[in-house]
Each structure stands twice: as structure tokens, then as C-alpha cells.
Symmetry: C2
Subunit: 202 residues, 2 copies
DNA sequence: GGTCGCATACTGCCTTGTGCAGTATCTCTG
DNA sequence: CAGAGATACTGCACAAGGCAGTATGCGACC
């Protein structure tokens, strides 16, 4: 017997609820939307629907494009029910991974130029992502116009977070430029920066 | 021959550069600091130093507390060099995981109450994390006062992102409260929300 | 008509990482 | 002197990532 469905199972199930998909289409759709807050390798998205079928949450239909085999997956009533139940459960804690921040944190193992380069790369990344989000927001017609309001809600958060990162990279750059070295911030007022985080509204 | 060190390897190496640690101490230190932008299970942190030793980047010293075995790891010169070289490499892309956002995105599989509950949980989580960050910022003396400026830089970003999430949860709540159902936003102006993301400074 | 490049549609395999259970010993407190 | 919590790990099963490899379909261009 298969173990409990994972969040990734439910994410795929959520898409299957909208319409049937082949795994290839599923993978592309995930890259457009879910990838922002639930990134999963394409490889994984080819395995996941099989598990859903094994659990009775989806069905698989074999088809052909000429000689090429093609599996289309669709949600079942049991899948729809499981999805609705899952919405009630408390979500797992958020998690952020940023190798760039690890490099900033350990910047004192290198020099100021290395730190500036890392900050520049983080800035470029944030700018690119913000541009990609703006493009998504500008699209007049997405594939599911009846779900546009939910997309807008999610896009808004993604955008605000990306904006925060971009603004930070620029601020960090100006701050670091006043340092004497990665180990000596000179007259930089560390305490003042920290204080802004303690004297804030909740 | 072991494969290339991972980001996690370098993260542990970065801490070993500061002083020698036992894995237990290492795990606790990671939870305090790195966990915010490079979260790794405690289990992994027990394996990682062994690989560093195998690669010649660290050394292990067996010790005893009474009868209890205890391994203390320390960085080598090769480790210090590898760490400095690693700082030059472009960092991997950031990645954010939020099961809560997946639930918001697929909220149309459930009702408004479920969506409101999920938003409430996301808000509580963000508030807790923000409070934890404020506490870290308020600490007069951390274990490495000479690295306080780097900690402040990282803390600032973490704080700004958390703030963005908290503000969003509250905004989202007010918006959702005007909806008729999860599938019908009523007079809510989806287009206006999306427009704010396209008409912005870069 | 042919072939080149890109899209479609997967599978295998190895490594990384998570979560949980289990096994000790040490130290402090009442 | 018992019990609770901290210290210090290991084993195992499963989730997930990354890369290479194997096809076929289809449209563009010569």
C-alpha cells in the first residue's frame, strides 16, 4: 500500500482538477505557476501521477500521437474529495533556500569584491524574476480565466517578496560600499540597522 | 572518490571556519542562523562533516565526555581555500516553498472559510517568524561579535521578506472578504490588482 | 523530398535530503 | 537517588533532484 500523498501529490491533483493533462503539459504548467511557491523537478512530475492512479485519486488513459505513446491523466471523484479535505489541514511551514545568502553570510571568508559580485548576482536574479512576474500579470488571457482572481492573489505575494529582495540587494550594496573590508565595517552602525527590526509594528 | 561538495558542505565548512564544533553544537548553530536561508535537517548535519573529512577539508577529533564518545570537527587549510574559491562561483537560484500558497492557489476546490483559515495560519506563521527575528536582532551579544555586521545584513533581508508576507496575508484577508465565493470574486477588480505589478519602477 | 532543429513523451540511475525511531550517556534538580 | 532534559549519535525508508539517454512528431527551409 502506498504511503500518504505528499504536498506534491496534491499540487498535481489540484491541476488535474482543472482539466486532464499529459505529464508533459503538466510539467509545463507547473513551471508557469506552481514553480514560484512549490518548485519540483520535471522528473518528479512524471512519477507523481502514477501514484495518484495507484491511490485511486486519478485515472490514466493511454493514447497515441502516431506511434508515440502518450498518457493522459484525469482526476476522480475520490481525488476531488481528497483535495477538499487536504485544504483543511494546516500547511507545512514555509521554507526559503538561497545559496547567495549563504555566501553573504560567510562573506568574511573572502574579500569585498566577492561580496559585491554576489550581491550583484542576487540583484540580477531578483530583477529577472520580477520582470517574469510582471509579464505574467500583463497577460490578458491565461488558460483559466475563471481562476484569474486566485492567480492574482498569489502573484501579488510573489511580487512583493521579489520586490523586497530586489530593494534589499540595492540597499545592501550601498551599505557594503562603506565598509573597509568584509571583516571590518568601519563606522557602519550595525546597532542602528538591528534596532529598526525591533522597533516595529506587529 | 567522493563527488563535489554541495552547498550544504560549504555551509558547514563556513561554520567550521569560525571555530571547531561537535555535530550537536553545529546542528544548534545552524538552527539559529543558517536555517533562515539554508534549512537542512539535523540528520544531514551529522553526515556532512564526515564527507568534509573524506575530502580533506576538515579534520575529526574523537573525544569523550565520561564514557560518551564525541567527535569534534575543525577546518583545514584546504578547507579555508575551498571556501574562498566557492565564494566566487555564481550562487544557485533562490527557491521558496510554501504549502500554504499551494492551498491558496487551489482554494477554488474548497470554500471561503477554508481559504480564510489558511490565510490566518499563514499570518500567524509570519508573525511568529518576525517575532523570532526581532529577538535575534535584539540580542546584545551573539557568539561572534566580530561577525555582527554580516548577521545584520542577512537578518535585514529575512526581516523584509517576512514583513512582506505578513502584510500580504492581512491584505489578502481584506480582499477575500469581499468575494462571494472562492470561484466568484464578485465586483473585485482582478485587473487593477494585476496592473499594480506591471506599472512599477525597476 | 530530405534533413535539421525543436517539441513531445517518457525512463533509469545515482545522489541528496527528510523524518522518524532507536540507543546511549551526562547533568542538573528536587 | 530518580527523573527530566540535554548531549551525541545511527539506521532505515522514502521524497526529491539532476542528468543522461531514447524515442517519435512536426514544421521550416533548401
Amino acid at each position: 500500500m502506498p504511503s500518504d500523498p505528499t504536498t506534491t501529490s496534491y499540487a498535481v491533483l489540484g491541476l488535474l482538477r482543472l482539466r486532464p493533462w499529459t505529464t508533459y503539459e503538466l510539467a509545463k504548467q507547473v513551471r508557469r505557476s506552481l514553480n514560484w511557491f512549490w518548485p519540483r523537478a520535471e522528473r518528479k512530475l512524471y512519477d507523481e501521477p502514477k501514484r495518484l492512479v495507484a491511490d485511486g485519486l486519478a485515472t490514466a488513459e493511454e493514447g497515441f500521437t502516431g506511434k508515440r505513446r502518450r498518457t493522459t491523466y484525469a482526476i476522480t471523484d475520490g481525488g476531488r474529495a481528497a483535495l477538499a479535505r487536504w485544504l483543511d489541514e494546516p500547511p507545512a511551514a514555509r521554507s526559503h533556500e538561497s545559496e547567495g545568502m549563504v555566501k553573504v553570510f560567510f562573506a568574511d571568508a573572502g574579500d569585498l569584491d566577492q561580496l559585491r559580485t554576489t550581491l550583484g548576482r542576487l540583484e540580477a536574479e531578483a530583477a529577472e524574476r520580477l520582470a517574469a512576474l510582471a509579464e505574467l500579470a500583463a497577460e490578458a488571457e491565461g488558460p483559466f480565466p475563471e481562476r484569474r482572481h486566485l492567480g492574482a492573489l498569489c502573484l501579488r505575494l510573489q511580487h512583493d517578496q521579489e520586490r523586497a529582495v530586489l530593494d534589499w540587494t540595492r540597499w545592501a550594496r550601498t551599505q557594503v560600499d562603506t565598509w573597509r573590508s568584509t571583516t571590518d565595517p568601519g563606522r557602519w552602525d550595525t546597532r542602528a540597522v538591528l534596532a529598526t527590526m525591533t522597533e516595529e509594528p506587529r
